[in-house]
Point group: C2
Chain length 227, copies 2
């Protein structure tokens, strides 16, 4: 006996830190009334012979125009009514990207915007997130995507202290101050500089390059790179 099958999709939260704030790439939907919102994270159906991560990378390439990013499976969302049109199970991933890369794709594609992610809960409590655009204000998110973005923030907060995922949000060369800004954006709180430096350097996951930043108003900081 064969059962009717749910559809399987991959949704992709593209995360970056821009001007000291967590941001996410959103895609305009032209069917807002049927899916419950004007904006959504990019996604696509899993093809019958395609690995799940391959779907994620295809969505990244075809819908966003990027490749070679840090990608991680987050959670699989499958509430029967999460998509009002048909049963869709979403194997959701998140990607971590440096801000300059996302700037480029939003400039080239009218339907892609970068929105700030805000949460009104502390630590790893959990809950929904809201997306705020500098011009348009708070964006209405389709499906369960406000909930998904909340889960992304929660996961990132949890992984910060025992992994190096934060470095994926920075360009190839970066200052220690920039790393601290990424941590502060994700955790939503201030950190103390000396303790942060020590912890980061003790981890042996970055190394100094001897080069320094240019164009700074005052003393330029040394540039570091991933090991």
């Amino acid at each position: 006996m064969t059962y009717p099958k749910p559809a399987v999709a991959v949704d992709l939260a593209l995360i970056t830190v821009f001007e000291g704030k967590l941001h996410c790439l959103l895609m305009r939907r032209h069917d807002a009334e049927t899916v419950g919102g004007d904006w959504a994270i990019p996604g696509g159906y899993v093809h019958i012979e395609e690995a799940i991560e391959a779907t994620a990378r295809r969505v990244l390439r075809d819908k966003v125009g990027m490749s070679d990013v840090y990608l991680e499976q987050l959670f699989t969302y499958g509430a029967p009514a999460r998509d009002p049109r048909e049963r869709v199970i979403s194997v959701t991933h998140f990607a971590l990207v440096a801000a300059d890369q996302l700037d480029q794709v939003t400039a080239e594609n009218e339907d892609l915007v970068l929105a700030e992610i805000r949460t009104d809960w502390d630590g790893e409590t959990g809950g929904i997130a809201s997306a705020i655009h500098p011009d348009a204000g708070t964006l209405t998110l389709a499906f369960d995507h406000a909930f998904i973005l909340g889960d992304v923030v929660k996961r990132l907060r949890g992984k910060l202290d025992y992994t190096n995922v934060a470095l994926e949000l920075l360009p190839a060369l970066f200052t220690l101050r920039q790393v601290q800004e990424v941590y502060e954006a994700i955790l939503g709180k201030q950190l103390t500089k000396p303790a942060f430096r020590r912890k980061l350097l003790d981890r042996k996951s970055i190394k100094p390059t001897g080069k320094h930043e240019t164009g700074s108003a005052f003393r330029p900081a040394e540039l570091y790179t991933r090991i």
Copy 2:
């Protein structure tokens, strides 16, 4: 346009600590030659109007005969050839149960056994696990289930120090020594008693009952319970 859809299943790793060792419930397959092994963790297809966790609880009830257990989504496995018969995407969960409960179901059902899970890697490195039965020796696992069990161990090791999941593996009343045994079984290494007691009690997630264990050869330990 409609694409051919993959099937979606939920697989369920039922975990317990028995005689100081991590164990897992396995189900005998009668189609070993087509699925690559004699033993598998229980699973079932997601029905078209059924939430994913509801599938997990249905599998738990219908195939194992249990209810009211700690359940958590682990990962979604979707390699195209993981099931040689058809494309099946598995939203895998794990359940944590006290050993006495699993003892009961294996006694009642011939096709269910409790096998020890062993890993040959340290900490949270990751890798496959093997399943060892007291009489039958090493069991051959179907599909990617050796890999999945490895991921379960990895996840449990990671969650031990910042959650109370370990308490789900114990009966309603337990001694501090039993809690330490659970931690040691999961981590695969010895811990020191005074430090362990302090950390556990400082967490305020268990409380003493005033009762003591009976039938012990020597001084009986106090019984604690979850708060």
